[in-house]
Amino acid sequence: MYLAKIYVTYKKSILDPQGEVVKSALHRLNYTNVQAVTCGKYFEIKLDTADKAAAAKEVETFSDELLININMESFTYDLSELAEAVD
């Protein structure tokens, strides 16, 4: 069993309105060190595949197909093997 942690954000070329609003709110709270805020989506998805390569391939395929809109978003992911559940 594998656990995919998938991070979806707007492409760099696209304004991230929520990130901008959060940044200005942080500045209003006097966190003046804050330089940039990116606001996105986070998914945890468990997959049961033969091996890690197969899990990676599936994550990449379904992320493009459903999790992101390829016109405006991109994703990164981490994939780790989960310990087998003990009955």
Binding site: L15, P17, N69, N71, M72
Partner: protein, 224 residues
């Protein structure tokens, strides 16, 4: 001719659209999003609302509803497909219209009446307008149209931009409010013409949108 109004879970402008079509004496019916076969319909309308709760992204789940297979087939056949508001979002997610709709540049839901320019008065969806500025209601949180530079150039080259905002309310690229596909039969817009067809409600600028479609009897005879 028969017109379908597709009812997705969470659609909330189904009846507005249905009554507008009935007002123009069209043989309209409400069709559940689980119905895949839409072969009998000359025109298919995807109404406004929050299909599937706007989960993931607006329109992202609706595009996989069974009815969207029928919608894609209709689009390919050259039949009329119209997406209003959430319907527009669904059509871009499905790839039946180019570009995408992001959340508004200033986050938040806008409910207002805005001035629109009829940027292309020669389309199937705008030919009955006898003026180039109209007023229509808007109600959306994700109406901020985006397309990459190449797509925008293509939209312009093929006169696919039908309506633009006079005072851009949501950050849309080039003030774009409504577009057609290159073939001219698939249309989407964020403003709501179906909410502006009855003098009782104080605005009838949506009527010419429906009259434009009705002028194209050649396109409305499919399956009659």
């Amino acid at each position: 001719m028969r017109a379908a109004v597709i009812n997705f879970p969470g659609s909330n402008c189904v009846l507005d659209m249905y009554y507008a079509l009935k007002d123009f004496r069209l043989d309209a019916e409400i069709v559940d999003a689980n119905q895949e076969n839409l072969d009998g319909f000359s025109a298919i309308f995807l109404p406004g609302g929050f299909s599937y709760g706007d989960y993931l992204r607006t329109g992202a789940i609706a595009r996989f509803a069974p009815a969207m297979k029928g919608v894609a087939k209709a689009a390919k056949d050259g039949r009329l497909v119209v997406g209003i508001c959430n319907g527009f979002q669904i059509l871009t997610e499905a790839g039946l219209l180019p570009g995408a709709l992001r959340e508004n540049a200033k986050p938040g839901f806008i409910c207002d009446e805005i001035t629109l320019n009829v940027a292309n008065p020669d389309s199937i969806f705008s030919s009955a307008y006898d003026k180039l500025q109209i007023t229509l209601p808007i109600a959306h949180g994700a109406g901020n149209y985006y397309a990459d530079a190449q797509t925008l150039a293509s939209l312009k080259a093929h006169q696919q931009i039908i309506f633009t905002y006079e005072d851009n309310p949501n950050g849309s690229l080039d003030d774009i409010a409504g577009i057609v596909n290159q073939a001219g039969n698939v249309f989407g817009m964020m403003p709501h013409p179906e909410r502006a067809v009855d003098p009782l409600l104080g605005n009838t600028d949506g009527r010419a949108f429906f009259q434009s479609i009705l002028q194209r009897k050649d396109l409305l005879t499919h399956a009659d």
